[in-house]
């Protein structure tokens, strides 16, 4: 299908696989049928073509995972990660046709809970662990600058200063 080819082209051309720009209007309604449970799964059937999998872009991954890495970390980490991901590649060779994925070991279903409220006794301790917490109002304070959020240290809550900090 033309649109599928377009999608594959997007994947191999664009850098981080995380950011895939897809305009709804590029899909012709008459030709596209996606299984509801697949993501872009149609492109990755059991005979996955490894060349379509972009190597990991460590900076982008770090951004996604909200972890800051120094440039040397990016370099060092990056090499190791690529090595391991490469090694993961051997999974592609396995024939898993018609093999059901196992989420975990065999399990009984169920184990549901009654709808009976219970108050957790030690809520004070939970609140005590919160770095920015206003005891009086019992809320977590976040300072906003230009539509983004910042956490206030507890000491600031008493005076509630309004410093404008560059976002």
């Amino acid at each position: 299908m033309a649109t599928r080819a377009a999608l594959l082209a997007v994947l191999s051309a664009s850098p981080p696989p995380r950011m895939i720009r897809v305009k709804a209007s590029t899909f012709s309604s008459s030709s596209l049928q996606f299984q509801r449970h697949s993501r872009i799964a149609r492109c990755f059937s059991s005979d996955t073509n490894p060349s379509l999998l972009q190597p990991p872009d460590v900076s982008r991954l770090a951004e996604t995972a909200r972890i800051s890495l120094s440039p040397s970390e990016i370099e060092g980490c990056g090499a190791k990660i690529r090595q391991v991901i490469d090694w993961f590649g051997q999974l592609q060779q396995v024939d898993v046709n018609s093999v059901e994925p196992a989420i975990r070991a065999e399990m009984e279903g169920g184990n549901l809970r009654e709808d009976a409220p219970e108050t957790f006794d030690n809520r004070e301790s939970i609140r005590a662990s919160i770095p920015s917490f206003d005891e009086l109002l019992r809320i977590l304070w976040l300072k906003r600058f230009n539509s983004v959020l910042v956490l206030l240290p507890s000491s600031c809550l008493v005076s509630r200063f309004n410093t404008s900090v560059k976002a």
Binding site: P56, V58, I67, L91, R113
Partner: protein, 538 residues
């Protein structure tokens, strides 16, 4: 096939050693296939001994506790097993003594000194998972396993060191300190439950709790010469165990004897309403398995079918380990077992499948560590910066790496290629095990391809380190129970290095494992695997 591991380069670098057990390590006799009376008595269960002597008045809980605390003081500077030693030990011991003196009932673990791995929540006591991001964090609740241990009278003596968040096989990845192997202070105790294993080996605690996601109880047990017991997935509640890989994590037990590990397991097992993945299967009374060696018949395990996993004895495994395993197999035969080779065709796939699943699940499980509701927070001007800095500075290198790999593997378009595939491989592995366990009562293998290696040896080569998990990860993928018990020594260190035998059972068949393990241990000629580097204790 181990040879298809890509690339197990470092394994081939290890010199192949011949095992000179009985000849070179004179002070410790080798396991002999005979069962005649020996001057060396089999190892005693510390739990049963404690119980006996407390109830008979021979000693008090306070005396016991004091002796353990002083040993900890004595040995910690060298070993560094503990991240935190409880301030309440003597108080709790005194309470037990008071109750005993009043004739009140005390639990089956009364007075037992227990170490708890630092990724298991203990109310009011720091629980950091050996990570800076949780430095000073004190949970508002006890893990179910800890609660049960306390209910039975156990005394939590402290929190043991580990690889950060369970990610590692040496305990070198702790943010705070490196634990030394009591058998050789220049070597690693294994990981990630290295602190718990070493503490039991060094007799700093009688038993300890660890966690096993890919071998983190079994491999350190092997490295430290203690018993490590991994229960079936769902046997023990995970509530309060800081999640690493949710579908693989279990809480496991260390003891200096099979009986101790088994009794500790019994104490913490059972369905928990706070853990939907915990099983409602009955927990048998394990204690009845731990009969005195005197009561054994001549072939106490007659007819037991034992499958030796072929793929675990191929290239890449230390020859010393291989010999020790083969001798263990002979020992089992002498006990009446029928030992045959079995093959698990998907065996080698377990390693990459495990690491895909573990990285993926951990990348998700560790998202909650953001500095907002607990733990160390790094101030920043902007929200994402706050997250990034708190996590960037709070997590160690290995943790960061696995989170990034997991993030990659779960990304859109990659899920099918990695995570889903790994889950499919898991199904294949489960099938293999099931087939093997249909033909055999238990399966056996080494616990690790080598004995303990030097601190710093594998630090920079992730794949080399991962390769060491080959013996253990498949068991986690299949969710089966397994026990590791010391079966021999190989060259290295001041007096040799212990090697463990892994026994794998069918789901929820811990009873059989404990029975076989106990008999094996009680009939093995040896000194009970006490590290000679430390003052000798019974």
């Amino acid at each position: 096939m181990l040879s298809t591991l890509q690339p197990p380069r470092s394994l081939t670098l290890l010199p192949f050693r011949r095992l000179h057990t009985s000849k070179t390590i004179a002070s410790l006799s080798s396991p002999s296939p005979t069962l005649d009376a020996s001057p060396i008595s089999p190892p005693q269960s510390q739990i049963l001994t404690t119980r006996r002597s407390l109830l008979s008045g021979e000693t008090t809980a306070s005396e016991i506790a004091k002796s353990y605390l002083s040993r900890i003081r004595l040995t910690e500077p060298q070993l560094k097993c503990f991240l935190h030693v409880s301030e309440n030990v003597l108080r709790e011991a005194q309470e037990i003594d008071r109750r005993i003196s009043r004739g009140e009932e005390v639990g089956p673990l009364a007075g037992v000194v227990i170490g708890v791995k630092d990724n298991i929540c203990t109310e009011g006591m720091p629980s950091t998972a050996a990570s800076r991001i949780l430095e000073h964090y004190r949970p508002p609740f006890d893990a179910t396993a800890v609660r049960k241990v306390k209910e039975m009278g156990g005394i939590v003596v402290g929190k043991t060191n580990m690889d950060e968040f369970g990610m590692g096989s040496t305990t070198e990845a702790s943010a705070f300190q490196v634990t030394a192997n009591p058998w050789d202070l220049t070597r690693v105790p294994g990981g990630s439950s290295g602190g718990s294993a070493a503490a039991v080996a060094a007799r700093q605690s009688m038993v300890s709790l660890g966690s096993d996601t890919g071998g983190s109880v079994r491999q350190p047990a092997s490295f430290c010469g203690v018993v490590g017991l991994k229960p079936t997935y769902g046997r023990v509640s995970r509530f309060g165990l800081m999640a690493y890989a949710s579908s693989l994590d279990v809480i496991g037990c260390f003891g200096s004897t099979v009986a101790d590990a088994g009794m500790l397991l019994h104490a913490v097992s059972g369905y928990d309403k706070f853990d939907s993945t915990s099983s409602k299967q009955d927990v048998p009374e394990f204690e009845s398995q731990f009969l005195s060696v005197d009561s054994f018949e001549s072939e106490p395990l007659k007819g037991l079918r034992v499958g030796l996993i072929r793929e675990t004895l191929e290239e890449g495994v230390d020859s010393g380990v291989r010999s020790a395993t083969q001798e263990a197999a002979s020992h089992l035969e002498a006990l009446g077992c029928v030992v045959t080779e079995v093959s698990l065709p998907s065996f080698s796939l377990g390693l990459p499948a495990y690491y895909v699943i573990a990285s993926s699940e951990s990348s998700s499980n560790l998202s909650r560590y953001d500095g907002v509701r607990y733990g160390n927070q790094v101030m920043a001007d902007e929200l994402n910066k706050l997250y990034e800095c708190s996590r960037g500075q709070g997590f160690g290198g290995e943790v960061k790496m696995r989170i990034l790999m997991g993030t990659y593997a779960l990304s859109a378009g990659y899920y099918d290629a990695y995570y889903k595939r790994a889950q499919q491989v898991r199904t294949l592995i489960r099938k293999d095990f099931k087939a093997a366990l249909d033909q055999n009562d238990i399966l056996i293998s080494p616990a690790a391809p080598s004995a303990a290696y030097k601190i710093g040896e594998k630090k920079d080569d992730p794949l080399a380190m991962y390769a060491g998990d080959i013996m253990t990860v498949n068991v986690n993928l299949a969710g089966l129970p397994a026990i590791v018990l010391p079966c021999g020594l190989v060259e290295g260190g001041p007096s040799g290095l212990p090697v463990g035998l892994q026994m794998i059972g069918a789901a929820f068949d811990e009873e059989k494992l404990l029975k076989v393990g106990h008999i094996f241990e009680q009939t093995l000629k040896g000194s009970g695997f006490v590290p000679p580097t430390l003052p000798n204790v019974a």
